[in-house]
């Protein structure tokens, strides 16, 4: 039996890595991938807690998260494509017009 504490710790570690990537990288595609990683870490925590309590709510929630992630990727990559088409860049620092 997999120790649940360690699964939760792994989830935290992956979330941390994803968070660091989303904050420290400037490549828009890598930022999107880091967000995916964070969502995955959350999924792992949900599955681990579901196993801990022996209920299936966590699994259903993970399915919802997967749907949200798919929708997010489709829209996010659509934004990346239209951004590249207009500005020839995937650097988030180059699209700071609306920043005060």
């Amino acid at each position: 039996m997999v120790p649940i504490e360690h699964a939760i710790a792994l989830s935290g570690l992956l979330f941390t890595i994803g968070l660091a990537g989303a904050l420290a990288r400037r490549n828009l595609i890598v930022i999107l991938m880091s967000i995916e990683l964070m969502l995955n870490a959350v999924n792992l925590a949900l599955v681990a807690f579901s196993r801990l309590h022996g209920g299936l709510e966590g699994h259903v929630f993970v399915l919802m998260v997967i749907v949200v992630a798919a929708a997010e990727v489709a829209v996010g990559l659509g934004i990346v494509i239209s951004l590249f088409r207009n500005r020839e860049t995937v650097d988030v620092e180059d699209v700071s017009l609306l920043r005060w």
Binding site: V2, P3, L10, G54, V60, M64
Partner: protein
């Protein structure tokens, strides 16, 4: 056996995640290391008795979402000189500090805080049980996700298509 496998896959997942975040030069290699993480996580789900979720993880995340990332990188034909560099020192510091903060919080709070894992049946997490839970108790949420997907589909088409 399953505990050893868990640590092996956990190591693969962390290594893949790290090389995805740290690889500044090559987005395609980064996406491929993310695939490694996804597949390892799928295996960990199976070890945690979440069979359906484990398979769907590989089917959707590794098989569709990351392929979509690769497809876009190829569509834009980003070669190495086009990749933006990582943020400056302050950005890196903020990223690492935020990460370390979350990790420290987990490490200090977690040990000994969890009760014993519940005993589950043979079929726990199989497609029958999860399907019944999904379509009996959470059918409204399931139907609403179809609206979300429709909205995302329309949005993606409008964003990415040159002339509509």
């Amino acid at each position: 056996m399953s505990v050893t496998l868990f640590y092996v896959f956990a190591a693969i997942a962390v290594a893949g995640a790290l090389s995805m975040v740290l690889n500044v030069r090559n987005t395609v290699a980064g996406a491929l290391s993310l695939v490694g993480t996804m597949v390892a996580l799928g295996a960990i789900y199976v070890l945690l008795d979440a069979y359906l979720i484990g398979v769907l993880q590989i089917l959707i995340y590794a098989g569709a979402i990351v392929v979509l990332f690769l497809f876009v990188v190829m569509l834009l034909n980003l070669r190495e000189e086009r990749y933006p560099p990582a943020r400056g020192l302050i950005g890196k510091f903020v990223g690492v500090a935020a990460g370390a903060g979350v990790l420290a919080w987990f490490v200090t709070v977690l040990p000994g805080a969890l009760p014993e894992a519940a005993a589950v049946g043979e079929d726990f997490g199989g497609y029958r049980h999860v399907g019944l839970a999904l379509f009996r108790d959470y059918v409204l949420a399931f139907e609403v996700t179809s609206l979300l997907l429709l909205a995302a589909m329309v949005g993606a088409v409008i964003l990415a298509k040159r002339r509509i």
